[in-house]
């Protein structure tokens, strides 16, 4: 036991384990495992036929970490920076990865990006639809209730926050739009009723 020199014994012997579990011990030798040794030079380069790869053309100014000495020879081209979120993210890339500002600005850029796209989508034939895009239909087709009731699920305590995270900003935006429209209507009515600037 713990308070004496020897380790607590294992209930099953290696032979018993080998009988019960197919493949028990086939990777027993720690030196004969695929990730060992670490940091050993690999002669074959896994199929690469270059020492430094040819460079991918940079068709627009590609943002990069200031901790890189150069733009990497290959990079993703999905969703280039654009709009206000693009400006925020571009600013974020002025800070090194060790700086909190780098990551917090990227998170801010993510939220602004979402709103930019939500608003843009309202001008299209396919506006964002929080009902279909959250997939909540699955609650009715994939046993939403049965998957929760009577289970020992600790995540149920905070799952109630998910609709708030998804719907909260939409409700807040609708509320702000309503309050703004109402105050504008009131101020227009006030201006119209004092007789100086009639409103037609």
């Amino acid at each position: 036991m713990t308070y004496t020199p020897h380790k607590p014994p294992i209930a099953e012997s290696p032979e018993e384990l080998r009988r019960r579990i197919p493949g028990w011990g086939v990777d027993l030798d720690p030196r004969d495992r695929p990730s060992v040794p670490k940091l050993q030079f690999q002669e074959d380069f896994t199929g690469a036929h270059w020492e430094f790869p040819e460079r991918q053309p940079e068709k627009y100014p590609r943002e990069r970490s200031v901790e890189h000495g150069m733009l990497t020879p290959v990079f993703g081209t999905a969703q280039p920076l654009s709009g206000v979120s693009g400006a925020i993210r571009r600013h974020a890339y002025r800070y090194a990865e060790g700086r909190m500002a780098h990551w917090l600005l990227l998170v801010l850029g993510d939220r602004v990006d979402a709103w930019e796209h939500h608003l843009k989508s309202l001008l299209t034939l396919r506006p964002d639809n929080p009902i279909t895009e959250t997939g909540v239909k699955a609650e009715f087709t994939h046993h939403g209730l049965r998957s929760r009731v009577g289970q020992h699920r600790t995540d149920l305590k905070h799952q109630v926050l998910d609709p708030v995270i998804v719907g909260g900003p939409w409700i807040a935006a609708a509320g702000a739009a309503y309050v703004g429209a109402r105050s504008m209507a009131r101020s227009l009515a006030r201006v119209g009723s004092d007789g100086r600037r009639p409103v037609h």
Binding site: M1, T2, P8, I10, A11, E12, R20, G23, W24, G25, V26, D27, P30, R33, P34, K38, L39, F41, Q42, T46, A48, F52, E54, Q56, R64, S65, E67, H68, T72, P73, V74, F75, G76, A78, Q79, E97, L106, G109, D110, D113, E116, H117, H118, D128, E133, T134, G135, K137, A138, H142, G144, S147, H152, R153, T154, D155, K157, H158, Q159, L161
Partner: protein, 382 residues
């Protein structure tokens, strides 16, 4: 082409997008036949990963058929059926030359702390992923492998991340014969890590989670002892009792950023995004192991700080081994294990979701409905 597109936290849809183009002479375009949703995709889906852009296509587990190759591609041919590791890697940078493909320095301009990953935000390079009909695969001569004739598609797709990562996680535990191994999280990676621990000679394997259907799978697939932490006042204390007060020799964290078990830790990280991830499982691992033990971290965390109990880790003399899995390095041995029946990843598949229903697929996986363990995605044209 049809592709999944991120529309903000908890929202995805299928959109018509441009088919990807050859951007580099060693690119290939792969027509996806089968993809998967990974637990780490949920971190993106929940808005936890910085620089996840609207319109981004997720998906780093996929297999398919080569549809087009760039001018310098020598090995692959149009029509080849390939499995693609989740790592984008060049094969020859300082890291790749030493087998650390997941740390490749030539593919991710956005960050130096992480390599390139398909469909995993711009923080990992800005590559659209495989939950789509087509995907761009850089360094086609380096990453993809032809799928062996004898291998089932569902096994192949799950070797591109989940199986390799679980197996790698067990290796990073430096398990020796007779070790007591604790696995936190009975998701797909945890289940494979638990099963792999036996291959490395573990004497006991204990899996901890709060979902009964996953713990049941831990018993049948991974032959493990299981503990539902909600049934105990203090799971750390329970692990001390279960190990005759010594603590486990090895712990493997297969939970990561959205760990449950502590309301404040979970909400401040997964909901309010004030931490890089909820360190509940990691802290339980630190507290549950014996002094001088090894902790392998396979759970994914974000780049911000997390409230990890590092003082206890130091005082106990713990060794931490961490990394994203260099998938291709695992494949030759894993192919043997699959062929010999020691690992059968497709046994973990619970749902097959048409690409057009991807929003429901994400919701089922995220809300843990319907006994979901591993959902696959079947593209429209497959």
């Amino acid at each position: 082409m049809r592709a999944m597109a991120y529309r903000g936290p908890y929202k995805v849809r299928v959109e018509e997008k441009q088919r990807p183009r050859i951007e580099h002479p060693n690119d290939a375009i792969v027509r996806v036949q089968l993809a998967a949703i990974c637990g780490s995709d949920l971190h993106l889906y929940h808005g936890l990963m910085p620089d996840t852009r609207i319109g981004h296509t997720f998906g780093h587990e996929f297999i398919g058929v080569v549809d087009e190759v760039g001018s310098s591609v020598q090995d692959l041919r149009v029509g080849d059926r390939v499995m693609v590791p989740f790592n984008v890697f060049c094969g020859t940078c300082w890291y790749c030359a030493r087998g650390l493909y997941s740390n490749c320095h030539n593919v991710n301009p956005n960050a130096t702390a992480v390599g390139g990953i398909y469909g995993y935000s711009h923080t990992t390079g800005g590559y659209d992923g495989g939950q789509a009909e087509f995907v761009r695969v850089p360094f086609a001569d380096v990453g993809p492998s032809r799928i062996p004739d004898w291998m089932a598609d569902e096994d192949a797709v799950l070797l591109t991340d989940m199986t390799a990562t679980g197996y790698f996680g067990a290796q990073l535990g430096d398990i020796v014969q007779g070790d007591v191994v604790l696995v936190f999280g009975a998701g797909p990676v945890g289940l494979v890590a638990a099963r792999s621990a036996w291959l490395m000679g573990a004497g006991r394997v204990i899996v901890i989670d709060h979902l009964d259907h996953r713990l049941e799978k831990a018993r049948t697939f991974a032959h493990a002892e299981t503990y539902n932490f909600t049934e105990y006042g203090d799971i750390v204390l329970e692990m001390k009792k279960a190990t005759d007060w010594l603590g486990a020799d090895v712990a493997i964290d297969c939970v990561g950023a959205e760990a449950d078990g502590d309301f404040v830790q979970h909400v401040t990280s997964a909901k309010l995004k004030l931490q890089g991830g909820s360190p509940v499982a990691l802290n339980w691992a630190i507290d549950s192991v014996r002094k001088g033990a090894t902790i392998s971290v396979m759970g994914a965390y974000g780049p911000l700080f997390s409230a990890v109990k590092f003082g206890d880790a130091m005082n106990k003399g713990l060794t931490f081994h961490t990394n994203q899995c260099p998938v291709k390095r695992q494949w030759p041995r894993l192919f043997e294990h699959v062929r010999n029946g020691y690992l059968k990843p497709s046994e973990l598949v619970t749902h097959r979701v048409p690409l057009e229903d991807i929003a429901e697929g994400y919701h089922v996986f995220s809300a843990k409905l319907d006994g979901c363990i591993k959902p696959l995605v079947v593209p429209t044209a497959a």
